[in-house]
């Protein structure tokens, strides 16, 4: 036996640097650009209270006389408002920053809820099989046969009718997370179940059972980590989808109230003024939404290529 000095195990950072993920990221311009854009948007959105010139939630800072001012490159602009103002005289830059924050919050929150429900149910369905599987998957089928919009309309109507619309506006973010989260969990459940079915028959699961470990432990500690890559890939798509769903709901007036607008409700608010020439109120938030969703989707594409071994080994 050679007397080798006990080599220290590589740290997580070193492992990442040696990984295929990092290698592929270094060579992919699109992925780098998208990640940069996405990170900028996230930082800008979550530090909105620091970055925004005004606080759009504070009614005292709003001057109704300064409404519908154009952005800086058009004649008649006020240099105080870089991107102009909306119909209520709120600074468009500030409100877009705050709105992006709301959109991202709902997008991530809804996906977290989807993942929580979907991964748990998918794991149980796949690993336990039999009646549990049949029940959970039929539940997923039923859930998928309702569209997100319909769920939102029904839940919105019920909550508004029973609790009043003031209550709804107050908890709109939570309501939207709940609605979008509940509507889309079957996507996760199906993906996870499919991978669990493939993993379940591998010998390491038998070995874990022979060791006398509990089912729950085998499910979450042994099987789940082996199904992570498809979960990562669909998460990116689901975040983009959730942001779009939220925007669509808000655009239809079922989402965020105009006092706490998201990107979708900003687009909706501006849409009424597009005919009167104030196009920027709707187009600028629209552009931000497109850039945000596009960068997430392209990142997801890249991640899918990296994590699917068949695509790079074949």
């Amino acid at each position: 036996m050679t007397t080798s000095t006990p080599a220290k195990a590589p740290s997580r950072w070193e492992r990442l640097r040696d990984s295929f993920l990092w290698y592929s990221f270094k060579r992919d311009r699109t992925a780098q650009l998208c990640l940069a854009v996405f990170i900028c948007l996230v930082i800008a959105a979550f530090s909105a209270p620091l970055l925004a010139p005004t606080d759009p939630y504070d009614l005292r800072q709003i001057d109704i006389l300064a409404s519908e001012l154009p952005p800086f490159w058009i004649a008649g602009a006020d240099e105080m408002y870089t991107l102009g103002t909306d119909a209520q005289g709120r600074d468009l830059l500030s409100i877009i920053l705050y709105g992006t924050r709301v959109s991202l919050l709902i997008g991530f929150g809804a996906v977290a809820l989807q993942a929580l429900l979907g991964v748990t149910f998918g794991l149980m369905a796949g690993y336990l099989g039999g009646r549990v599987d049949a029940f959970l998957m039929r539940l997923a089928d039923i859930q998928l046969s309702f569209s997100t919009l319909m769920v939102a309309i029904v839940v919105g109507a019920v909550v508004k009718a029973t609790m009043g619309s003031a209550f709804y506006s107050q908890y709109a973010v939570l309501m939207l997370i709940l609605i979008i989260g509940l509507a889309e969990w079957p996507q996760y459940a199906r993906t996870v179940r499919a991978s669990v079915l493939a993993e379940k028959n591998k010998e390491y699961v038998d070995a874990a059972r022979v060791m006398g470990l509990r089912s729950r432990r085998i499910m979450f500690r042994h099987v789940l980590p082996n199904t992570l890559s498809p979960i990562f890939v669909i998460s990116t798509v689901q975040i983009a989808n959730a942001i779009i769903s939220e925007a669509a709901l808000s655009f239809l007036g079922l989402g965020m109230p105009e006092t706490h607008p998201s990107l979708g409700s900003l687009i909706k608010a501006g849409f009424d003024y597009i005919q009167s020439g104030s196009w920027w109120i709707t187009l600028i938030p629209g552009a931000v939404l497109i850039v945000l969703v596009l960068s997430i989707n392209l990142l997801g594409d890249w991640l899918r290529d990296v994590m699917n071994p068949r695509l790079y080994k074949g």
């Binding site: 390491y204 070995a207 022979v210 060791m211 980590p225």
Partner: protein, 338 residues
């Protein structure tokens, strides 16, 4: 009382085409520190037997009858909770393919610590200490380093050593080794087998060795079972069976070993292949492949094709064969007439 006592074990699979009997009338005992071999072709029911010992037969399989008694407690009627205390802790198992048995996303240390913590109330630090000690026992080079490595960083032989270390982790009474060396290359096979034997002797651990390698069985085990199509057809002390096989199938197996053939000649073989369990031949399941179904007078023995043979005692061995039974009967009659 024997440590492990299996009697009349009957395992079936409820398939769409109907019930298939994967194991029937399996009887054996294992004493503390004893080594038992189970041999047979692929599909003879060896692995099913191993899994059913721990009551881990996956659906649609189930134990339809018989009993498995470990220290007097019946495992096949025990609660899941009670079984968990036996699995890994008192009886552990080694699988065929070391590439597949370790979880690829957990480090060796994590997997060993997890196994220890599932059965004992100890801290992670203590558990790592025990894990390290076991890794030393299996003579793995630089064991400290291995704890933080992942399975893909190790070679097949090293992984099988780690699996043996995991099997020994809780000082079990019995290790079931299901073809532990099949996936390794020949030089490593011998090393791993020697290591396993040494550790079993050292710790007085009972070993149930499942294999199709008669050479390994004859070197390692004290008693053996020969299985064919879900039944035990011959069982007894390993030495006697290897030196003087009674059942035509066992004779064929031993005859088929490469060292039994004359140099330059074709290797001996048993003609045909094992029948599917869902479509067993009538009578003795081996009769379509048996060279001895004809009696001395040239007439086929009717019992072979019509009646499942019962066990007969032949010396220290038990054999399920009509021919052997007939021979023994003849001998007995002759002795009586003298």
């Amino acid at each position: 009382m024997a440590l492990l006592e299996v009697s009349q074990l009957d395992v079936r699979f409820a398939l769409r085409q109907g019930e298939v009997r994967a194991l029937r009338d399996v009887n054996f005992t294992l004493e503390r520190g004893e080594r038992l071999g189970i041999v047979g072709e692929s599909g003879a029911g060896k692995s099913v037997a191993a899994f059913s010992l721990l009551n881990l037969i996956a659906k649609p399989g189930f134990i339809a009858g018989g009993s498995i008694k470990f220290e007097g407690k019946t495992l096949n009627t025990m609660s899941e909770r009670g079984l968990r205390k036996v699995r890994g802790n008192r009886i552990s198992m080694i699988f065929q393919d070391p590439m597949m048995t370790l979880n690829p996303v957990l480090s060796i240390g994590e997997q060993m610590v997890e196994c220890l913590k599932a059965h004992r109330r100890i801290s992670t630090k203590e558990a790592r200490g025990i894990a390290l000690d076991k890794l030393r026992q299996v003579q793995i080079p630089s064991p400290e380093k291995r704890l933080d490595q992942y399975p893909h960083e190790l070679s097949g032989g090293m992984r099988q050593r780690i699996i043996i270390a995991i099997a020994l982790l809780l000082d079990p009474d019995i290790i079931i080794a299901d073809e532990p060396t099949t996936a390794l290359d020949v030089t490593i096979q011998a090393e791993i087998m020697a290591l396993l034997l040494e550790l079993c002797e050292q710790h007085n651990v009972g070993l149930i060795l499942i294999t199709h390698d008669l050479g390994v069985v004859s070197q390692v085990t004290q008693r053996m079972l020969v299985m064919y199509a879900g039944r035990v057809i011959e069982q007894g002390p390993t030495r006697e069976i290897i030196n003087d096989p009674q059942h035509p199938y066992t004779q064929g197996l031993i005859n088929a070993l490469p060292q039994m053939a004359t140099p330059g000649e074709k290797l001996n073989q048993i003609r045909g292949s094992m029948p599917s369990l869902s479509n067993l031949p009538s009578g003795c399941a081996f009769h379509p492949r048996c060279d001895f179904i004809n009696r001395a007078d040239g007439q086929p023995r009717p019992a072979c094709t019509q009646q499942v043979p019962d066990f007969v005692d032949s010396g220290n061995c038990r054999v399920a064969c009509h021919m052997v039974a007939e021979m023994l009967e003849d001998r007995r009659l002759k002795e009586e007439s003298l």
